[in-house]
């Protein structure tokens, strides 16, 4: 039992540690403020102290990459075969056959519901006029998913068989999922050259971790008696694994396949930014660039429908055991073939021109009309959010408050007053026994006055260390400080703070909005009936698609990016908040009610504390989602690391791409560990 060295948070009483940490942070902040005129290096890390990390990484990686390049090119050549076959089958087959085949599969897996969903989905794709683009995308997915399943599955089995490497492997998988998607693309681009293979490999790399995770989980959860029964039946290890454990874990493994499919689809579409392949993602990108938002919207819709069909199909493959009448399956397949034959006879075997293109043009026009008439309102929303919300967070009240927006000029005296009031209020709170609230208030005021992007680096590092120390202990504190220090000396610090600011703002917005919606869903069943499918859909949509609607209304810029991040990252907050709140044990609620608590008191005093660990996990997910989207949102205008990664891709600058990607991963990693640490600490405190 060596728990004590792992989590001293549990063994030591909470408040003193928290207070000490808060005090330390406050003192550091105050010192930075006071000394900024005498020691400017305390605010801005001097450039002379940084290492040319991006160049170093660049030359190092270039050497490695060019060494393994021949092997990879051979791979690329090998992969081009299955790709062209898949492409030939999917694009070359007449559309009635493909629709028939997928509908038949839908029937076989999920009966009438799945069959009709598949039929309608593919029908929509056909009518949208994006048939061949969609089939191109599908052919990429159909090659990358088997690769990812194979790679992820083998890693999972390996981790199961060799327990010693398991921890290391899980950590690697964690890292692979925090590294932003665009960051892999740059080195892959150098290795494989322009073309669809990059997207293929990137999506296989991106989709392998969920597969591996689910295989590990599934094998771990096989009933120990089942494992022992197979041993006692005299099965060899190989037989145990393939005849018993893997089939017994098939449900969890199919969940992995489902996640793998979705990840692959998402990445294949994102990989369109490197171009070279006429798939549906490219179509979205192209129309977006040409500001044909109606068309972009239509193509986005095709992606969404595609994603939903694939998700539901593979999802029910994992969950339902019942298979449906084979005769209907054959019938559907046959009617597809007959349709194809008829089409060939009439000589019209190509997919029809989109019947919705007129609609798309109409959408474009009406959107144009809408923005023309409501342009002022939209602009108003955007500018007020920028000037009164985002900008102060970014550069602080001291610079954001200007006469032409706020009506007055911020002066140092105001800063002084603000701090004085904050300190007084903080002291008041502390005197009332709420030390942490007091310290938090002063810190928050300090951050808003200065702006996240302008925070002194010692303050950020000490603050993060303190949080880590409270959340988990010395080990995490040292680790986070070391990782952030790495970012600091790499010269990417300013960009990292910019990323931190935008994702931080989005996370705060998500917590407020998502928390409120989650609360509403918890208290009202009807609200949840409406909200739930929306959440389901938002989680199925590939990241890329979120950019389209925000772009339609708010053009390129930070605000659009902010909205896209929020739309994507708010879902876990809603889900976890609701889940935490509704899963309070009934006897606790009854006890509260019988003690005379009002529903609201029950909510604040019983359900919320009980839900805290779950909500913190939701926050953790929200943070990770926000970071993931931040990079994608670079397409429509963000600053910071996301932008660097995206630019690096355009310039094929491996050093910049990889080091900015690593910096981003570090931010995500630290935030993730902090949130998890707090969730764990709360859970322990509740004795769960």
């Amino acid at each position: 039992m060596s728990a004590s060295s792992e989590s001293p948070a549990a063994s030591m009483p909470g408040p003193p540690r928290g207070q000490l940490a808060a005090l330390l942070t406050l003192v550091t902040g105050a010192a930075c403020l006071l000394l900024q005129d005498y020691a400017p290096w305390m605010v801005r890390f001097p450039e002379a102290w940084t290492l040319p990390a991006t160049e170093l990484v660049g030359t190092g990686l270039d050497a490695v990459l060019s060494a393994i390049k021949p092997v990879m090119r051979a791979w690329s050549w090998l992969l081009s075969y299955p790709m062209s076959w898949a492409n030939a089958v999917l694009v070359g087959s007449p559309w009635p056959l493909i629709i028939g085949a997928f509908t038949a599969a839908g029937w076989y897996i999920g009966g009438f519901r799945m069959a009709s969903l598949t039929f309608l989905g593919f029908g929509f794709v056909l009518l949208s006029g994006y048939w061949s683009e969609s089939m191109n995308t599908l052919s990429l997915v159909s090659v990358s998913v088997p690769l990812a399943v194979l790679a992820g599955g083998s890693l999972g089995i390996l981790a199961n068989e060799v327990p010693r490497i398991r921890a290391a492997l899980l950590a690697t998988l964690d890292a692979m999922q925090t590294i932003p998607t665009f960051a892999y693309l740059t080195p892959l681009l150098l290795l494989f050259g322009f073309g669809p293979v990059v997207g293929l490999v990137a999506s296989a790399i991106y989709a392998a971790p969920p597969m591996a995770r689910n295989v590990i989980l599934g094998l771990e959860r096989v009933d120990p008696e089942v494992k022992e029964a197979s041993i006692m039946s005299g099965a060899s290890r190989w037989q145990q694994l393939f005849l018993v454990e893997i089939p017994a874990a098939s449900q969890q493994i199919m969940v992995g396949v489902n996640q793998c499919l979705m990840a692959s689809l998402s990445m294949v579409i994102i990989a369109a930014v490197i171009g070279g392949f006429n798939d549906i993602g490219w179509e979205v990108l192209l129309t977006m660039r040409k500001a044909q938002f109606g068309q972009a919207f239509l193509a986005g819709l095709v992606i969404v429908i595609f994603a939903i069909v694939i998700d539901r199909l593979s999802g029910s493959l994992a969950l339902e055991r019942k298979r449906h009448d084979r005769r209907v399956t054959w019938g559907l397949l046959l009617s597809g073939a007959v349709g194809a034959a008829l089409l060939a006879l009439t000589g019209a075997d190509t997919a029809p021109e989109g019947v919705f293109s007129a609609a798309a043009v109409a959408v474009d026009d009406s959107l144009g009309a809408f923005t023309a008439t409501h342009g002022a309102t939209l602009d108003g929303i955007k500018t007020s959010a920028m000037f009164y919300g985002l900008l102060p967070l970014r550069i602080g009240l001291d610079q954001a408050v200007l006469p032409f927006t706020w009506g007055f000029q911020w002066t140092p005296a105001m800063s002084l007053w603000l701090f004085a009031i904050a300190v007084l209020a903080g002291l008041g709170l502390a005197a009332a026994g709420r030390h942490m609230a007091g310290a938090g208030l002063v810190i928050a005021v300090g951050v808003v006055e200065t702006g996240i992007a302008e925070l002194p680096w010692p303050f950020v590092i000490v603050g993060t260390m303190s949080l880590a120390w409270v959340a988990q202990g010395t080990r995490l504190a040292v680790l986070s400080a070391a990782l952030l220090g790495l970012v600091l000396i790499s010269g990417l610090w300013d960009r990292a703070l910019l990323s931190l600011y935008l994702s931080g703002a989005a996370v705060v917005a998500c917590v407020v909005v998502g928390g409120a919606i989650g609360l509403l869903s918890a208290v009202s069943g009807i609200a949840w009936i409406i909200i739930r499918p929306v959440c389901d859909m938002l989680q199925t949509i590939p990241l890329f698609v979120f950019l389209i609607p925000t772009l339609m209304f708010f053009q390129i810029g930070e605000f659009s990016a902010f909205l896209a991040i929020c739309a994507y990252a708010v879902v876990p907050m809603i889900r976890y908040t609701r889940h935490g709140l509704v899963s309070t044990p009934p006897e606790m609620l009854e006890a509260a009610t019988s003690s005379g608590a009002t529903p609201w008191q029950t909510m604040t005093d019983v359900r919320m504390p009980y839900a805290a660990p779950t909500i913190l996990l939701g926050l953790n997910q929200t943070i990770l989602y926000a970071f993931a989207m931040l990079v994608i949102a670079a397409l429509i205008g963000t600053t910071g690391l996301g932008q660097s990664i995206y630019l690096a891709l355009g310039q094929a600058d491996v050093g910049l791409g990889v080091s900015a990607g690593a910096a981003m991963a570090i931010l995500a990693f630290v935030a993730d560990r902090l949130a998890q640490g707090f969730a764990e600490e709360r859970r322990k405190a509740l004795g769960l």
């Binding site: 022992e228 029964a229 006692m232 039946s233 099965a235």
Partner: protein
């Protein structure tokens, strides 16, 4: 035949070589348990001292110095409260876990020295095991579950299905061959578990609380069927239970475990009539003694007093029945075997005191 399989002391002397012999078996859990055990052992003392020392150092001595032998064809029951180490002991013998120290031999073969491949072979052909929660393979039909040991042994599909058909009939699952475990009731599932463990024609049969997860009625029914199957096959059986009534009903001999230690080994009558300590006595307390102790256990073979021969007792009668038969007698009553030969006598007073003993 059934009576011939002596429930009693005769059995031990009858066996030339025990089917299973376990000596000085230790199972210690914890990191690097083997060297911790060696250290604790080197410090000397009784096995209790060693276990105490291990516990102090944070190890779990789940099985402590277990020694026993099971004769060929014997039904040996291991009984104890939950957590007393029964399963761990059995898993050590079958090498599902590697014992920390000791010696195990099955049918003369040193099990702990056997190679992996040899263990696999033994499990395919000689050892069968039944689990408390059945351990059925969820993705296989009944017949595939039952035939699994043959499948991994490399037997063809047709042949193995033919071969397990009679076992499936024996456990009463005829007609359910194509069903999946999730479609079966608890009792039926354990029948599948039993059938699977028998598919390899095992000569040593391990059952770890096979009926504990079942309803009392089903449990009784399966116990009876188990005894039937047992009468048909000539396997050596180690049966684990935490239920004294089940142990007394089934066992030839019972080993009682407490905190990883075997505290008493004896026939059902021994356990009921002569518990070695309060722990064992506590178990026997709820038992209606008359139903489990047999006349043979209190018979005096060397008695030369004139015996009343009229009612005549038999050694395998329960004390309850015996008491009813010779209620009216004050003198010793004769005991005859099946062939009518005089075996010895029983004093009605002994019956009464055996029934009363330790009742207070």
């Amino acid at each position: 035949m059934e009576t011939g399989r002596g429930r009693g002391d005769t059995l031990i002397s009858m066996a030339e070589q025990p089917a299973i012999s376990v000596a000085g078996l230790w199972q210690v859990f914890g990191s690097d348990a083997a060297s911790a055990f060696r250290r604790a052992q080197d410090e000397g003392g009784s096995s209790r001292d060693i276990a105490g020392r291990l516990e102090e150092r944070g190890y779990i001595p789940a099985v402590r110095d277990a020694c026993f032998e099971v004769a060929e064809g014997e039904l040996f029951v291991i009984m104890g409260l939950s957590g007393s180490g029964k399963s761990t002991l059995l898993r050590g013998i079958s090498r599902l876990v590697e014992p920390t120290a000791g010696h195990v031999s099955i049918e003369g073969e040193d099990i702990l020295a056997a190679s992996k491949a040899r263990m696999t072979e033994l499990r395919r052909s000689r050892i069968g095991m039944v689990f408390q929660h059945f351990g059925l393979f969820p993705h296989m039909s009944v017949i595939d579950n039952v035939a699994f040991p043959l499948k991994v042994g490399g037997m063809g599909r047709r042949e193995r299905h033919d071969k397990v058909q009679c076992i499936i009939e024996m456990v009463g699952l005829k007609g359910r061959e194509g069903a999946y475990p999730r479609e079966l009731s608890g009792g039926q599932r354990q029948r599948v578990g039993i059938a699977r463990s028998l598919a390899g024609d095992c000569s040593v049969w391990f059952l770890d609380e096979p009926f504990s997860a079942l309803d009392p009625l089903i449990r009784r029914q399966l116990q009876d069927e188990f005894l039937d199957i047992r009468a048909r096959l000539n396997t050596t059986i180690v049966f684990i239970t935490h239920d004294i009534a089940e142990a007394l009903k089934l066992a030839d001999r019972i080993a009682i475990m407490r905190d990883g230690e075997i505290v008493q080994i004896g026939t059902p009558a021994d356990i009921v009539l002569h518990p070695v300590d309060d722990y064992v006595r506590e178990f026997a307390r709820d038992v209606v003694r008359g139903r489990h102790a047999k006349v043979g256990s209190i018979m005096r073979a060397d008695d030369d007093r004139a015996a009343n021969g009229t009612p005549g007792l038999r050694p395998d009668m329960t004390l309850e029945d015996a008491l009813a038969t010779c209620m009216a007698h004050y003198e010793p009553v004769a005991v005859y075997d099946d062939g009518g030969n005089l075996l010895g006598t029983v004093d009605p007073q002994d019956i009464a005191s055996a029934l009363k003993a330790d009742c207070g």
